[in-house]
């Protein structure tokens, strides 16, 4: 067992030495692969941030109940009572039509125009938050409220949230597809690099086979080479994206502030970093298997 560990340790350092002895070509290869990995990793970051945004929306869903224009105070009291008794309701707020008009006037800057209206065209409204805000619950609540006689309409701004969810789902599939394709690209690049390395070390491999080396022994340093190059590419991709995030988040933050929200692209979580590095290493390792199994067979 100790010998086995010692052999792997020796091969690992030998492979690092080989990489270090050709720093320019190693760096160029890693940069190419790292940049390639930036695309799926960057898309993942964007999707992850949108996912968080979706989470925020789902945490604070609001249902607005608009009363009929001609509703009177007893109608309002009745709805108030029904909401108060409904176990699905977390809390609610009544917004009288006069207050709504005032608020509209302040926000829109058309005070004079609104002042010229013969009567207030806005209805009284209740803004309700539910305890359980799944789309099914909200739909059920909406249908039941619509049956109340003094209620004119119920609005839940679900459409764009649903669109966002659909977009995220589509994006997730797209990222999986892109990741698989680009991981395959990385594997092919590493496989080809290794194929060329094997060709340049053919004499050494031939001698090793003649004096008793197994195919596994021959393959081992190349597998380390592939995995190490993949790992380094993952690190490069991570580094590039973190730098990009630092640069772009300032602009995104300023832009989202204009819309009264705080949206930034979040950086990698520790688990995401682990997945990125592990998957890039595995891609490199698979490329090495592909490269060696083809090339060593022909020696």
């Amino acid at each position: 067992m100790l010998n086995w560990i010692s052999q792997h340790w020796h091969t690992f350092w030998q492979t690092l030495g080989r990489l270090a002895r050709a720093p320019i070509s190693t760096l160029l290869a890693i940069l190419v692969m790292g940049t390639t990995l930036c695309l799926p990793a960057g898309l993942y970051l964007m999707l992850h941030s949108l996912n968080r945004l979706q989470g925020v929306i789902h945490e604070n869903p609001q249902v607005t109940i608009f009363m009929k224009i001609l509703s009177n105070s007893s109608d309002i009291q009745q709805v108030n009572g029904l909401l108060n008794q409904d176990p699905k309701v977390k809390d609610y707020k009544f917004i009288p039509k006069n207050e709504a008009l005032k608020s509209l006037a302040q926000r829109s800057g058309i005070t004079d125009l609104l002042a010229g209206l013969p009567s207030n065209p806005l209805p009284d409204a209740f803004v309700v938050r539910l305890k359980n805000s799944t789309p099914e619950n909200i739909a059920y609540f909406k249908n039941s409220v619509m049956n109340w006689p003094s209620v004119d309409s119920v609005q839940y701004d679900a459409i764009w949230a649903q669109r966002l969810a659909a977009l995220i789902s589509l994006g997730r599939n797209f990222i999986i597809l892109i990741s698989v394709l680009l991981a395959f690209t990385v594997s092919v690049i590493i496989g080809n690099t290794i194929r060329l390395q094997i060709a340049s070390r053919q004499a050494e491999i031939e001698v090793s086979i003649l004096i008793g080396a197994t195919r596994r022994f021959i393959r081992r340093p190349f597998l380390y080479f592939g995995a190490l190059q993949g790992l380094a590419s993952g690190l490069i991709a991570w580094g590039i994206l973190e730098l990009c995030l630092m640069a772009i988040n300032v602009k995104i933050s300023a832009f989202s502030n204009l819309y009264g929200s705080i949206f930034i692209l979040h950086s990698f979580s520790p688990s995401a970093i682990a997945v990125l590095l592990a998957s890039s290493s595995v891609a490199g390792w698979l490329g090495a298997i592909f490269g060696t199994s083809y090339a060593i067979k022909n020696i």
């Binding site: 020796h10 004499a203 050494e204 031939e206 001698v207 003649l210 008793g212 080396a213």
Partner: protein, 224 residues
Amino acid sequence: MISLKQVSKRYPGNLEALRDLNLDISTGEAVLLTGRSGAGKTTLLKLVSAIEMPSAGEIMVNGQSITRLRRSQIPYLRRSIGIVFQDQKLLFDSDVLTNVTLPLHICGQSRSVAMKRARAALDRVGLLERERSLPVALSGGERQRLCIARAIVNRPSLLLVDEPTANLDPDYAKAIIDLFRSFHQAGVTVVIATHDIEVINRFPLRQIHLDQGRLLNHTGPTTY
């Protein structure tokens, strides 16, 4: 140790390198495999070390039938054999010590053990002071001794040597043959393929003479 029964080897193009060869070499024996170039000496060594497979017949080495060995078992057989190749097959971009430690790394020896044993082998062939030299910096005789060091470093029970004195001065050749004599005296089975008359005349070993792939005769004593 080595037993060949009705062994033939045919290469593509119907080129017959060996024909119906029957041969036995005992454990601890030293033999000279003689014959002109193209007689089949190298082919015979390649068959015994499973570098080539016979077209017909059976070969036993160390009690193992080479023809029945699985492909995955061949490396393990080769590890028990020390081979000195005619074309040396050295790693020219690695130093002397790395060349000699290679068989030990292949066998899974730790780095420290490999270094120790490689230095002992280099000391045995008189190359210890050249351990950091590249093979290109060595003379012909030194390179041959390096090949021998690599072949013996795993302490094999069988040593196959192909034309060890080719292109060497007589003094170097004598030193090389003396080395094989010492290995044989230590109990190693040694098979030396040569067409060097000097070597054949100097050392009274049992001779296995090949001509056009056929065994012509056995001559000479079986031991020193």
